[in-house]
């Protein structure tokens, strides 16, 4: 993540080189034209003007940004606009940010296509008031918890790791509790949400002292303690209070006699660590939702013990043990709680401590070497409650290995990378957490094996299960994904591009060919109504005819809104893979609705247009809607 971020910075920083300092004569400045864009920003509900809203126009051939502001009457004008395609946005907290042409809150807008010198006026940008969600976060004793992060997750993203992650990284409405435990999230778009609270790191890492532990500590002092009078400044204070051993307590829910520690786990509204039991709240447009309060739950941290036996039946030493949560559906929560790990001792025994309740997969892998990720593996699924778990037995078995080949598209026009800079491999779907969308395919290569000069590679340490084939040029050049990505994956003659395949011990693939390409496919056209006018109030959907590709964030399920001139385009980095598609037009699309198979099935039944897009093909398809 750092590397990519840094890459972008470098990219941006090097960007001014070579430009001439001629920018003080506007006419000569690149990105400055003679056109203008003017209009009003109004409340989408009441149609009242919105003053002091910031209006931004971004686009053009050289990426131009114009920032202006509305006056008391809600009007704005952005001068010196060049020709090109632009998006126009308005923002003013606590209204929801909006774009020109957006018919509803949180919907995409309509891009403007402008010619040189064109003056467009009378544009109306609708904005809607953001809702407020507020409440308190308290601990098990009802005490306010400060610095807890409360985050709204769209209920629709439940189970979709990628969406959750993107949301968690930047988009999700969130707030932090103050010293009174109060949080207040504003600017919330209407919709259904899960509310999640995460305790601050110190508190999350802290364990509650057990009764016996304090008692033992006090017993250890029974011999007269060395009076220090230093550091603690104890001498200057009143005598230390007596040392009672009662009064130290656990929170509720911790079983008596439990020998370990306890700690806090992230909770969902109204107070559960289990996402499936979380209550969804429906937030209406602009409402103030009060009393959305969460109570933190203390969970016991237990000990998991077991033994790993090698293929020879003897306890296996130096085996890496990891515990991965199976029921943790929030990717970020998983990252936060970390992966618990241990190593087996000489006799094969292992102990993993401080494990919170949940369903886990205990995975054993023999130590990684230069040659192979691992050669033996074993696993066991275990449900952990409030008690220590002992006596787990893991039997090691040989890991699988698949050889394959990477190739560069013969018809590539970009300078071809050395094959030795390509990393390729098979990423287990449980790691991808059921994500096989555009992102997963592009990035999964980072964990792969380096290919040899002839393109061959060997991926070892594989465990049976569904995998995604991936390849990536030079992990050391993170921006290479802008140019090179997987164009095709053929396994034993079957095209499994953008699809997972099963690794089985008794049916290992004989041939794997991963082709990297610099080609991008483009489909564009103009959409008009029966009288030939641009049909801007619409969304064009492009989705694979093959239903296997109907999954969230698929590279083969795409939607776009036409620009003011009715033009639409599917292209670029997130553009379509080569393949066969349906093309449909709908008037409105709920967020993420295009990934709903029922919805797509209904569209497919309506005999939509079929489009075949070959590798690197640039196709034009005009649409007329009656």
């Amino acid at each position: 993540m750092r590397a990519l971020g840094a890459g972008l910075v470098v990219l941006a920083m090097s960007s001014q080189a070579g430009q001439q300092p001629a920018r003080d004569q506007p006419a000569q400045r690149p990105g400055f034209g003679t056109g203008a864009v003017a209009g009003r920003v109004v409340n989408g509900e009441t149609r009242q003007p919105i003053a002091d809203a910031l209006v931004a126009l971004i686009g053009g051939q050289t990426t131009t940004i114009r920032v202006g502001q509305t006056d008391a009457k809600g009007t704005f004008i952005l001068p010196a606009v060049p020709a090109g395609k632009f998006v126009l946005s308005a923002s003013k907290a606590p209204y929801l940010g909006s774009m020109y042409g957006a018919p509803k809150p949180a919907r995409p807008g309509t891009a403007l296509v402008l010619t040189e010198g064109q003056i467009v006026s009378g544009l109306e940008i609708l904005m809607w008031p953001g809702a407020v969600v507020t409440g308190t976060v308290t601990d098990q004793d009802g005490e306010p918890v400060a610095d807890a992060e409360v985050q709204l997750q769209r209920a629709a993203t439940r189970g979709n790791q990628m969406l959750q992650m993107v949301a968690a990284l930047g988009g999700a409405p969130r707030a932090t509790t103050d010293d009174r435990g109060i949080y207040r999230i504003f600017g919330v778009a209407p919709g259904d949400y899960l509310v999640m609270a995460t305790v601050p790191d110190t508190l999350a890492r802290a364990r509650r002292l057990g009764t016996t532990e304090v008692a033992d500590g006090l017993l250890a002092l029974r011999e007269p303690p060395r009076a220090t009078g230093r550091g603690a400044a104890g001498a200057a204070s009143a005598p230390a209070p007596p040392l009672p051993i009662d009064g130290v307590r656990f929170g509720p829910g911790v079983p008596p006699g439990f020998s370990g520690f306890s700690s806090y786990a992230p909770v969902y509204f109204p107070g559960t660590t289990d996402m499936s039991r979380a209550t969804t709240i429906s937030v209406a447009l602009g409402e103030e939702r009060t009393g959305v309060s969460l109570r933190l739950e203390i969970v016991p941290l237990v000990r998991v013990e077991g033994t790993v036996f090698g293929a020879d039946g003897v306890g296996a030493a130096n085996v890496q043990i990891t515990l991965q949560r199976l029921d943790e559906t929030s990717f970020m929560a998983m990252l936060r709680s970390g992966i618990r790990s241990a190593q087996t001792a000489a006799n094969g025994q292992f102990t993993v401590r401080n494990v919170a309740p949940g369903q886990y997969r205990v995975l054993a892998r023999s130590a990684r070497t230069q040659q192979a990720a691992s050669t033996f593996w074993g696993s066991a699924d275990v449900t952990i409650g409030g008690q220590d778990v002992g006596g787990l037995v893991l039997q090691m078995q040989p890991a699988l290995s698949i050889t394959g080949r990477v190739a560069i598209d013969d018809t590539a026009t970009t300078a071809r990378p050395e094959l030795t800079t390509v990393r390729a491999g098979f990423v287990p779907m449980d790691v991808l957490r059921d994500q096989i969308g555009a992102f997963a395919g592009m990035v999964a290569g980072a964990g792969g094996q380096a290919a040899r000069a002839d393109g061959s590679f060997e991926a070892g340490g594989l465990i049976p299960g569904a995998h995604l084939t991936s390849a990536m040029v030079g992990a050391e050049n993170p921006l290479s994904f802008l140019t090179w990505r997987v164009g095709a994956v053929v396994i034993d003659g079957r095209d499994v591009t953008d699809l997972p395949f099963d690794v089985k011990a008794d049916a290992l693939p004989k041939s794997v060919l991963v082709t990297l390409t610099d080609k991008q496919q483009t489909l564009s056209g103009v959409i008009a109504d029966s009288s030939g006018r641009p049909l801007t109030a619409s969304t064009v959907l492009m989705f694979a005819t093959d239903r296997r590709y109907w999954y969230p964030q698929s590279r083969r399920v795409l939607a776009v809104r036409p620009s003011t001139d009715g033009s639409y385009e599917f292209s670029g980095l997130l553009g379509p893979s080569a393949g066969e598609y349906f093309l449909s037009v709908v008037t409105d699309l709920e967020p993420e609705q295009q990934y709903d198979p029922t919805f797509l099935e209904a569209l497919a039944k309506a005999a939509p247009l079929r489009i075949l897009l070959g590798p690197g093909e640039v196709k034009r398809q005009d649409l007329k809607v009656r």
Binding site: L218, G231, G572
Partner: protein
């Protein structure tokens, strides 16, 4: 690179960021290898809490520093350098904590609790210093008391000229401090107002504060870009030429919006007029209203002209000449890149500014820390490298300032030699470096410039922008220490040197092997008992030395009394001093001449000669 575009790119590139995180996660997962814990397995949740590496025990209680009562729910962390870090513990209703099986070592005990200021072992007042606990092998310490003090809270709201709440406004809490002998402001916290225009600062330490609105054009830009987040794919396609160009394109930005300029509560332009909020532990100050008004913004642009080849690390700053020295506007130019020398600030509100260009011969960002600035850089630039600088006052009223030409001038060098005065064999001169610290005003940048290599006992600094500098020598090499610094026969050991247009040579830095003087004694309260809470302040009688107490001041010293009221101050240069015992809450602002004057009225006076070891008992008169 201007930050706003970075923000914009970062935001619009959420997808990219997501990709990157996912890459990391996938790389981790596909290898089936968790991150390798550092040797000994530093806990996280996987570590064994009680490390079995010793038999030491620490038992203690967390108490409220004012009431002495236990603080249930406080979190105590065991900090220290030892192989296995136990998890922090949450104390129960008796406030008691236990750490067992400890090896010998130094242990800090950071402690925190909602509603209190963070604290640690040895703290005897809300902002006092903490001291680590020393544990010898097998020690069992049962009487550790960790004290927590209630925090102060400041809250209020912001309203614009129409009386409407201002939402998502960046509000800062600034503490009044002293830098270089002048009142200054240090930013302690920032926050944003909510949808009602409300803000709230918590965990505020006792002190004197000012609430201010920070100019935030980047926030505006970010909001604009975030407004488009409903259509990431549109953004990606719009930005695609920018990204795909591999850096050959750059957004052309024109910013024509009114912004909220820096304003101090209750709605004034300067810190002098601002309302001061004096806070003690546990205070809650509510209803601090800030009135703001949006102002038009203008463009300040032009070109830096200078040597034939523009220094690549040229930085251009537009700052307010206030006590805060805050940057104004957003620089879209990239003066040092591609030799263009271009600078282009947009979103600049009307006001007086200093436009400053500096190219120092080392990595940019060489601005030392404010208020203290000790430490500084350790990497030495090439001695031959030049420093280029330019500065210009700008006043923006009602129009853009474009086409400015900022002429670079070469920095001035200070040179001279080291002189060893003593009988001990002199150490090699190369082990010292000369530090020139800028001490211009409260807002002055404390650019700590390490010397070029010192050869044959002579030295030459890199080029310095004009200003006032203190010159000193680092580090001490017992028994040798700085005796005096003289320039053209004038003693500049403790006063700044004016650096103007011409190089300064013949600076003689004299070292001596004579021992310094020391002062020690006991602090008592008026009623005669030892005072363990006092701080002893020592400063010169000569008021000429009070006005520019720079980062290397040797004659201004403080020390805390020990548990039994003892103090000890070694290493004082000979001279005439005031000495006074006072409360430690004076530590943040005692270097101001006004405070020194107050101290002087009750202080004792002592004249010290080199090597003298003086014992002096003090009585505390304040509080």
């Amino acid at each position: 690179m201007n930050p706003s575009i970075l923000v914009a790119m970062r935001r619009t590139s959420l997808v990219v960021v997501a990709l990157a995180v996912f890459t990391a996660a996938v790389a981790l997962g596909s290898q089936g290898q968790p991150p390798v814990p550092p040797p000994g397995g530093r806990g996280g949740r996987g570590g064994e809490p009680p490390p079995s590496t010793g038999t030491g025990v620490i038992v203690g209680t967390v108490v409220d520093g004012s009431s002495g009562r236990p603080v249930p729910g406080a979190i105590v962390t065991l900090g220290g350098r030892f192989p296995q870090q136990p998890l922090p513990v949450v104390v129960g209703s008796d406030g008691r904590f236990v750490f067992r099986d400890l090896p010998a070592g130094l242990f800090s005990l950071p402690v925190s609790k909602n509603g209190y200021l963070d604290s640690g072992a040895g703290r005897t007042s809300p902002t006092g210093v903490t001291r680590p606990l020393e544990l010898r092998d097998g020690d069992r310490i049962g009487d550790v008391v960790l004290r927590l003090w209630r925090h102060a809270v400041v809250s209020g709201s912001a309203a614009d000229e129409r009386g409407d709440p201002v939402v998502s406004l960046r509000v800062a809490l600034l503490q009044r401090t002293v830098v270089n002998g002048q009142w200054s402001l240090e930013e302690r916290q920032t926050t944003r107002t909510d949808d009602r225009g409300w803000y709230r600062f918590t965990k505020v330490a006792p002190g004197r504060y000012v609430v201010a609105v920070r100019q935030d054009p980047e926030g505006f830009m970010e909001a604009a870009v975030m407004a488009m987040s409903a259509d990431l794919s549109a953004i990606m396609s719009i930005m695609a030429p920018l990204i795909a160009s591999g850096g050959n394109q750059f957004p052309e930005v024109d910013f024509r919006a009114r912004v909220i300029p820096m304003v101090f509560a209750p709605g004034v332009a300067t810190a002098d007029e601002a309302a001061t909020i004096a806070l003690a532990s546990g205070d809650e100050r509510t209803g601090i209203v800030i009135r703001v008004a949006r102002v038009p913004t203008y463009r300040v642009s032009g070109t830096v002209v200078g040597p034939d080849t523009m220094p690549p690390n040229l930085q251009v700053q537009l700052t307010t000449p206030s006590q805060m020295d805050l940057p104004a506007g957003v620089n879209l130019g990239e003066a040092g890149r591609g030799g263009s020398g271009r600078f282009d600030f947009v979103a600049v509100p009307p006001g007086r500014y200093v436009l400053r260009a500096v190219a120092a011969p080392r990595a940019p960002g060489g601005r030392g820390g404010r208020g203290g600035g000790r430490g500084g850089e350790t990497t030495s630039p090439a001695p031959s490298a030049s420093t280029w600088w330019a500065t210009q006052q700008i006043t923006i009223t009602d129009r853009d300032e474009v086409g400015l030409a900022l002429a670079l001038r070469e920095g001035v060098r200070i040179s001279g030699r080291l002189q060893f005065e003593g009988t001990t064999p002199a150490p090699p001169a190369e082990r010292f470096s000369v530090m020139a610290a800028n001490v211009d005003g409260a807002a002055g940048t404390q650019t700590n410039v390490p010397s070029s290599a010192i050869a044959d006992g002579s030295f030459k600094t890199i080029g310095l922008p004009p200003g006032r500098y203190t010159v000193s020598l680092l580090p001490p090499a017992a028994p040798w220490r700085l005796r005096s610094v003289r320039a053209a026969g004038r003693d500049i050991t403790d006063v700044p040197l004016d650096v103007d247009a011409d190089d300064i040579s013949d600076v003689v830095i004299a070292l001596t092997d004579q021992p310094l003087a020391s002062l020690s004694g006991t602090v008592r309260r008026l009623r005669g008992d030892a005072d363990a809470t006092a701080v002893v302040f020592v400063f010169p009688v000569d008021r000429d030395l009070w006005s520019h107490v720079g980062p290397t001041a040797r004659r201004f010293r403080t020390v805390r009394a020990t548990d039994v009221g003892r103090y000890s101050l070694p290493g004082l240069p000979e001279g005439d001093y005031y000495i006074v015992a006072a409360h430690e809450d004076r530590l943040s602002d005692w270097l101001h001449p006004q405070v020194l004057e107050t101290f002087a009225s009750t202080a004792g006076r002592v004249q010290l000669r080199d090597g003298e070891q003086r014992t002096l008992d003090l009585t505390r008169h304040d509080r």
